[in-house]
């Protein structure tokens, strides 16, 4: 399967409908690469004309800015905005809520204004438009699934319903954790915590959240963020529940259940 590059489109004088911003996790993290591949397979099936930046993509600067390193953030933003504007990018979809937030909310004031869509909203639109058709007997039909809200999707951008609507298409049994939506508990990765050891405490944040999820005995914990996915996967492994409970991205769930 060929993954088209923006530079190829550009060389041919064409423009894709949408740029898929893969993000660092989706590009390099082995677990998150599976999410990227699942999302690509959906894009191919529904025949969306998309492209990726490939080697021209760079970190948005989200973790640098949140660690307090504004210089580095501004450097990354400058570089990315140059790339995006040179290609005259109009519409971006991404599977990472952190990239989504930075591209959508923090780049406009720096000269980079695009229509930025998180893949949860993108998938919901494809489902609503009937472009994604689900199998009669999907592998997750009737399964007990709980959705973990990503902070950067939920509180940061008020996207609570789209990922849930996407999950509804699976015809599964959706259950909510006690702390959900605007009260959702962080996975512990945000604010550049992903890249450092946690501070001293009684329990790790990802375990606190995993324990809460396991209390309602789901078969799948659904996420819409590669970092949440990593944190919860680690939590489930820590509780030695990886045989019973899967942690999957909404794109993976849809890719596995669509015709």
């Amino acid at each position: 399967m060929h993954v088209p590059l923006m530079s190829d489109y550009f060389a041919n004088g064409e423009t894709p409908e949408v740029l898929f911003w893969v993000g660092c996790a989706g590009s390099f993290d082995q677990r998150a690469q599976k999410i990227t591949k699942a999302f690509i397979s959906i894009l191919n099936k529904v025949q969306v004309k998309y492209a990726i930046l490939g080697k021209e993509e760079a970190c948005t600067g989200d973790p640098a800015r949140r660690a307090g390193n504004e210089f580095l953030f501004q450097m990354m933003a400058y570089q990315n905005i140059q790339t995006l504007n040179n290609y005259n990018i109009q519409k971006i979809v991404t599977a990472c809520p952190h990239c989504f937030n930075t591209l959508k909310n923090e780049y406009p004031v720096l000269g980079g204004t695009y229509e930025v869509i998180h893949h949860s909203v993108f998938l919901q639109q494809l489902i609503d438009e009937g472009k994604i058709k689900m199998k009669e007997e999907g592998s997750f039909k009737g399964k007990r699934i709980t959705y973990h809200d990503s902070c950067y999707l939920g509180r940061a951008n008020n996207i609570y319903e789209a990922p849930r609507k996407v999950l509804e298409a699976l015809d599964a049994e959706l259950v909510e954790m006690k702390r959900c939506k605007s009260k959702g508990l962080c996975c512990g990765a945000g604010g550049a915590q992903m890249f450092k050891e946690e501070e001293k405490g009684n329990i790790r944040v990802n375990l606190e959240r995993t324990n809460e999820a396991l209390e309602i005995q789901p078969e799948v914990i659904a996420s819409a963020c590669p970092f949440c996915n990593t944190m919860l996967t680690d939590g489930v492994k820590n509780r030695e529940k990886e045989e019973q409970v899967q942690v999957l991205d909404i794109a993976e769930l849809i890719a596995a259940s669509m015709l």
């Binding site: 399967m1 993954v3 893969v22 660092c24 590009s27 390099f28 690469q33 591949k37 690509i40 990726i52 490939g54 080697k55 993509e57 760079a58 970190c59 600067g61 973790p63 640098a64 800015r65 949140r66 660690a67 307090g68 390193n69 504004e70 210089f71 580095l72 501004q74 450097m75 990354m76 400058y78 937030n101 909310n105 923090e106 004031v109 720096l110 902070c151 950067y152 509180r155 940061a156 951008n157 605007s182 009260k183 508990l185 512990g188 990765a189 945000g190 604010g191 550049a192 915590q193 890249f195 450092k196 050891e197 946690e198 501070e199 001293k200 405490g201 790790r204 944040v205 606190e208 959240r209």
Partner: protein, 441 residues
């Protein structure tokens, strides 16, 4: 005698209100020690926030039961204060129940409403006292509140109960005196009120002199209590009853995910990349500080937040770092900011201008370990009923740590150098960024 009392009352009332206003002006001055920031765009959205968040207490209704109890106290406080207008006029003019003959039946309706509210206030405050001292909710027994802040909360609740009891007792004794046809009380017949009429029989056996003494004591204690309480407010967490309104008006309207831009650095990067755009260097410009080390480096908006905080702790209860035993508590961030600002204000007051005291908000009040624990999840911001952002202060202090003090954990230095050199926070070659694509079948 009467004229002397009127004079004493007038002096006390003017002094009470005057002191209160003076202290508020002082607080305004302290808040304006912060950096300038623009929070006046979109006035209609801001007015709507005042209605929803301040008057409507929308965020409180995330827990409806507590919201209703809180609403009793809030409504009681605002509405019963209409009665204070009559009390103050009576005090100045030497009249008794000035509004009764003017308003007629409506007067009884008003006082009946106030009395019902008074009972609801007593009930709510008693429940709140129980939640703090008997049920001991986690956010109220937190070490954030050790010492003065915990007492402060109890004093407020007890004072409110006492003020309401004084009001009801005053009405009861007044009514007994009316029924006995005594003096000027009889000249202003109001008939029995809903609640005080019900407790009036308790006072029926007392002598006229005793009844007058009780009625007058309650009247004086009630109004003196209110004036004293008003002057206690600006030194207490209870200031939120006033500042919740401006704080809602100046609420942050952009999506919570945005971390404030730093135009100075934006330009510095721009000029490094495109030197032709750089203006001639201004040699007179004082070097700006990156991020915030002390309260002066925060915006006035952050400092208004600090004075608006009522230390309820909803932020810390929702904070993933706090609930997992880390040192960080968003409530403490706000309390520290206010404490430091008060310290700075005392310093300025004593010296005429701020004299360096070798202290700062960062390090002396808020430690590196606290700041390092934040996941920027915005749970604290989302929970705050009065539109405070502890996260904004945390971020500004983090910026100072990294950019002014080069104080970062080793892993963050590695992350930064990876982002800088490999364009990803991990140590992978940028050439492998799309390697996954070649692995797709």
């Amino acid at each position: 005698m009467q004229i002397v009392l009127q004079l004493i009352f007038t002096i006390i009332a003017i002094a009470g209100i005057g002191l209160f206003v003076r202290r508020l002006m002082g607080i305004r001055k302290n808040i304006l020690l912060g950096r300038d920031a623009n929070y006046t765009d979109q006035p209609s959205a801001r007015r709507k926030n005042v209605l929803l968040l301040a008057f409507g207490q929308k965020k409180m209704f995330r827990n409806p039961l507590v919201a209703i109890l809180h609403f009793f106290v809030y409504a009681g406080f605002i509405i019963i204060n209409i009665e204070v207008l009559e009390i103050i006029l009576d005090g100045i003019l030497g009249t008794h129940r000035l509004f009764a003959p003017v308003l007629g039946a409506f007067y009884s309706f008003l006082i009946n409403s106030f009395e019902i509210l008074a009972v609801l206030v007593i009930f709510a405050c008693a429940t709140f006292l129980a939640r703090r001292n008997i049920i001991k909710l986690k956010r109220f027994i937190s070490k954030d509140l050790d010492g003065w802040p915990r007492s402060d909360a109890n004093y407020i609740l007890i004072t409110e109960i006492v003020l309401m009891l004084l009001f009801l007792t005053m009405n009861s004794t007044d009514q007994v005196l009316q029924s006995k046809g005594y003096g000027h009380y009889a000249a202003h017949p109001t008939g029995p009120f809903l609640i005080s009429g019900w407790i009036a029989p308790l006072f029926a056996g007392l002598s006229n002199g005793m009844l007058v003494a009780i009625e007058r004591s309650c009247w004086w204690l009630h109004i003196l209590g209110i004036l004293a309480f008003m002057n206690y407010l600006p030194y207490s967490k209870h200031l939120h009853i006033i500042l919740a309104f401006p704080n809602a008006y100046y609420a942050r309207l952009q999506p919570l995910g945005i971390i404030n831009n730093m135009p100075a650095i934006q330009n510095e990067v721009l000029y490094a990349m495109q030197p032709e755009l750089a203006p001639a260097p201004d040699t007179n410009a004082a070097p700006a500080r990156f991020g915030a080390k002390d309260v002066f480096d925060l915006t006035w908006r952050n400092l208004l937040d600090a004075y608006s905080c009522t230390e309820c702790g909803r932020c810390s209860a929702a904070c993933p770092a706090n609930m997992t035993g880390k040192l960080l508590s968003p409530r403490k961030i706000m309390m520290d900011t206010r404490d430091r600002l008060e310290e700075v204000s005392r310093n300025i007051h004593a010296n005429g201008t701020f004299v360096d005291d070798n202290k700062s908000l960062l390090h002396n009040y808020i430690s590196v370990e606290e700041l390092r624990a934040c996941t920027t999840c915005n749970a604290c911001v989302e929970e705050c009923p009065v539109s405070i952002s502890p996260l904004e202060i945390i971020m500004e202090l983090r910026r100072c740590l990294i950019m002014e003090e080069s104080n970062a954990p080793q892993e963050w230095n590695v992350m930064s150098s990876n982002i800088e050199n490999n364009f990803a926070p991990w140590k992978f070659s940028p050439d492998d960024r799309d390697k996954w694509a070649s692995e797709m079948l």
